[in-house]
Symmetry: D3
Subunit: 273 residues, 6 copies
């Protein structure tokens, strides 16, 4: 169960309205790697955890924090939208600054949400449950989390460079710090799990059942030999075996020819050409 605290975790006050930046900031709210994504990803991973209570705690705590980040960003967007000159179409014809604001805004901010945040990306695409992952394998999922925090912090850093509003930068610098922590924590937990399960997910699948002759081959699928120059090719692979370089990709399979479909399917009959 959850409880709510009326104060924000961190201030979310821009120095001045900026509807164009509000549109961009939607990315870290409702985009593929926005805060809704990490909150929902950690929640589902936590709820689906079977028998590793400490990790479940970690997931639920981090998820709960991320819900508060969604709140901060939604609040910031609502404030960036205040005083948007929505009914000033006459002035817009004369003043290119007003014109470019009205032309460049996310129309949803004006028409749909009434100057509020939307659960969508910077291009106005609704957030999708298809963005997140909760597989029941914690090593796989913590790698997903490390990726999400890496992509997320990268996007926050880019937004930080695209504004000179001190209030916005202040909030973003807090998010950057928390993303640093979250990268650190998933890295630490990954190290712990890799020590127990090995680096290849899932560690419980018997090696003997995979075609091990292909498990360490770097296969060249292009002309030229540049692919061979990877420095790590001469080192042990992370799972302890030696890498092997294959100069040219070979086919081991057949030329696939399918049986004709039964007549009731009304596919093209064989021999039509």
């Amino acid at each position: 169960m959850f409880k709510h605290t009326k104060m924000l975790q961190h201030p979310a006050k821009p120095d001045r309205p900026d509807p164009l930046f509000a549109k961009k900031m939607q990315e870290i709210l409702g985009g593929q790697f926005g805060e809704i994504s990490v909150a929902m990803q950690y929640l589902f991973q936590g709820w689906n955890t079977r028998g590793n209570e400490k990790y479940k705690d970690l997931l639920m705590d981090t998820a709960t924090e991320e819900l508060g980040h969604v709140e901060m960003i939604a609040t910031m967007i609502a404030r960036l939208l205040e005083d948007a000159p929505l009914d000033q179409q006459e002035k817009a014809a004369e003043d290119p600054v007003i014109g470019s604001i009205l032309g460049g805004m996310n129309p949803h901010h004006a028409i749909v949400s009434g100057l509020g945040a939307m659960p969508e990306s910077s291009t106005g695409v609704p957030w999708s449950g298809g963005y997140i992952v909760a597989s029941g394998n914690l090593l796989a999922d913590f790698r997903a989390n490390l990726n999400a925090e890496s992509q997320g912090r990268l996007q926050v850093a880019r937004l930080f460079e695209m504004t000179d509003d001190k209030g916005v930068k202040d909030m973003l610098s807090f998010l950057l710090a928390r993303d640093t922590m979250h990268q650190n924590q998933w890295l630490a937990a990954i190290k712990e799990l890799e020590a127990q399960e090995g680096p290849v997910v899932p560690g419980t699948f018997p090696k003997a059942l995979e075609k091990q002759e292909f498990s360490h081959q770097l296969i060249n699928f292009s002309e030229g030999e540049e692919s061979a120059k990877q420095n790590w090719l001469n080192e042990k692979a992370p799972d302890g075996e030696a890498f092997e370089y294959v100069k040219e990709a070979k086919t081991f399979g057949e030329k696939p020819e399918l049986k004709p479909a039964p007549p009731c399917v009304h596919n093209t009959l064989p021999g039509r050409e």
Copy 2:
């Protein structure tokens, strides 16, 4: 530019048709972490790479291989669908096996694709470009790749356990091996990049600009102190600093109250309650 070889990289022949397994196998073709996802993800990462030609080579070679995996799985699905008893509704009423095949199949396989593979998941949801990531930051993206190969290999392993068809298992055991290699290669490349850029993405963002007092705090957002028991809390964080445990989450922000919207937006007027 690409060229095509008529042979498959590896055989894709089931021992016998199995329309219900064809439905399940769609997940590793057109699901969130199916082969279309990794192929497209590596292609876009490769095409967007700016100035690291060796990594671009690695991405393009791996992407090209994955296109061949899409081909193998599509072929396997088409063969698993052969001889589906589509027009035997009368027998289905008597024979529960035929009935459960006709009831459990992906209807698209019968009605839309005429016994062929579809670019969609095991629940029939079309593949989405929103699944993939190509950010221009290679450390972030290689973490995305490691995740994709981990989730992908996990799903292949689960499918392997759910069938006793030797032909299907043969192909899956090849895919398991290649996913082992791909996890190994992204791990090796990640190690290389972390050595140069540090573990926190993006490594080029100045630490001084983030609120460093929050960069290593594990904050407890739930009652009880179980969260504190993470073993790694007492070790150095991956970026070399010390972790800190915060017993209870604090709010640093204000209670957010927004300005009323201008009348032209027709929001509820203030004071209505």
Copy 3:
């Protein structure tokens, strides 16, 4: 069966082209609460009605009118797009007004539809069947309809404020009037149904089967007691019972711990932390 009349229900002629407004107007055509949504929602509700022919008539008549509104708005958008300066990129470099039109237009209007309307929202997201509802329970559905007409009229009112084109305003003032009627009619029909089925949907579910001790509690999930200040708390609830205020949310459930997954699923083993 339907028939078509070549005249529009109401004129749809702007005074002058305005490609930027055409983009915005897409919201009330193909957005979540656009005319496609209400037309399809009423059609499906009508077709799914079982045994209440007068309401089915009302639904089918209103649906049929809404199809004509889709037509009016599509026509208006096509006209707002006429004379868009699509091939004047050289002038655009000099004239900021042309530049902002070319930069702010929906690119689909230029590239995909050839200056025609699209079945999509103001941000260019395709209309989705997931927007509508037709549940077979008419009281539930008329509430959905009242909501759709409320959101729809709100969006039309906002668009009305964002233009000074008399022809556009003329058509919008007609739509505003029809949305007034449709809110009135659903309110009237809701009142009728509530009189027979009670205010809680579905009225046919036996009260004794729900946990009635929780059916009238306003539970406070946040610190402070502001939540208690709702004026209506001291009045009878719409279903005739008394409301009850609960100062602090309590948990009645257990701490959920799940059984480990079977080995064939390859989840993380218990005890990994």
Copy 4:
């Protein structure tokens, strides 16, 4: 900011596993009117509220409760999936019960989530941000909320009828009660707002600017006069005016003919037929 309590708001323990019911229960988790929808809808409405703090409190409290309902249902689904006979394909050929479980399960539960809940509907479609609404107009939004709670309770009631598992029914009877409360509370708040703003949303738009001659007409768009039999036609409309019945829909607009597109668009030239 949010905090998390490790106990569930209400127990979520089925008497026995039932993977087919787990698939169905996904609807009230990640479907159009599932708990994710109401939680997110109330959160965004709360965050976007401008100047009506009591309503904001109500929204945030209810949203926070709904987050706990998402948690309960996710937990229930995970438990319904325990002991699914995933690797018993040989037995399935003999035992039609096992066969129909394996054929009828949501394949994601086996392949993707490792016996955990997914953020998707009962047909496996990912939850979409396009389901929710937060318009800044509270009367419009409370009507959306009343609809969501009506559709939601209807779906819970249907699920209640489709199982005889006492543990599942126990949780559903709690959800039914809370949905009763939430319908009551939105009805009460709607009454309050209608008293101040009138029944037609948005109440702030000047009547004089809409074409009032159309604001109370029930227009017949079909042959026959059955549409006229609505009982409420002879009563005052909710906004106090008289309804009017129009026997046959008339067109007031022109036959729309559009100007040819400029040559640079490469539309079909006029006169081609």
Copy 5:
């Protein structure tokens, strides 16, 4: 403007309920090439037509008919769902036929629509505005229409083979006939337009501006020369020129190397490998 006739264009009465077939029939209602798609496609093409009134008439008439087909199929689905044994879970455990119905139904038909049709495909994916096309170029669009009627009739034919219900077959045999007509009419109209604009769309684009040396080359991108065996290679191309066979694809472009991104984007720095 549209009007509605209460009779169906053609009867839509199954001999008996069949919830599994109702699920399949959703494909031709709300799938990619279902009746909603053709209705909406013709409507948008009609509304966007500029200056070819006879074709606009043809489009609007056909669109209006298709709306009536949506109605017939929705009605048929609602009837196929009658008497579904939704609350007979106890019998289902004993009777494999009831069990397979309850396991194989579209859960939306039970939980969401209350035994009514849904605006979605046979896999439960909502209809999408992204399925349709209305480009303003009528030759292009009539080819889209011919494709839609071909795919649509193919799907209806497959469904026809999958049932032995005489009432269902009766309605499908009517739809098959209308799809025959619609293929005929688009073929006839295409012939007319090709006579005026030539076979290559858009016919108005000056040939001199395309790289004509590549306009008739069949390029072989695979090993072996089977590609050369197309019979039509030795005939004139439809636009009157000679086809040319190119034995092996050549590259004319450069190896693409991109400039490094500016530092503010935080991409990986060049030289990291």
Copy 6:
């Protein structure tokens, strides 16, 4: 299996950066009829072909070429994005040209992909597997291909008119030529198949099973007789029969009345009005 060649099929070098055109060009990369669509459509059609190896060759060769077109366009977009003035918000306030670039860009190009191409349309909607078709019936599918190449070439022609960058025009003029070839080839192959299977898809469905009295009727669904003026009405239909004109659409079906739902569904009871 596929191989990759490091050179592009054709140069993809713009004369100068143009972030606004990069946004527009996304349409022919990741839009409904972009190069990803044709590549995937031909791949799936090729993989699903059963017993017509020459056509399979044609499909696989063309698909492989289209993968190279995706590569060229992705490269062009990445180059159009170079030197975008992302961190010049201060200059933007003064210089309307910089302002309109920053306001009109696809925000994903700045925030998500780090100046790289995205698998999405010009409005930022992710590419969807729902765009493509591979039905197993080659005549149906080649019509889909002809449509895709017609829509695609139309969009390329429109983009060609919207830029004066010689490098961009050079690449587009190559794509225009290849689309000319692909329209020619599908037209030629369609002619071949129609000669064998007849013009109505699927040609294998027995005519006697469709209601032939409706197979050649052009039915007028609107007032007036303009629909009758189609020139081709007096010619033989493509399948050799005579067309027939029906002055006024008739209904042959009943007024649909559905049975009440069983109580367990909690639909509105009959007689509620």
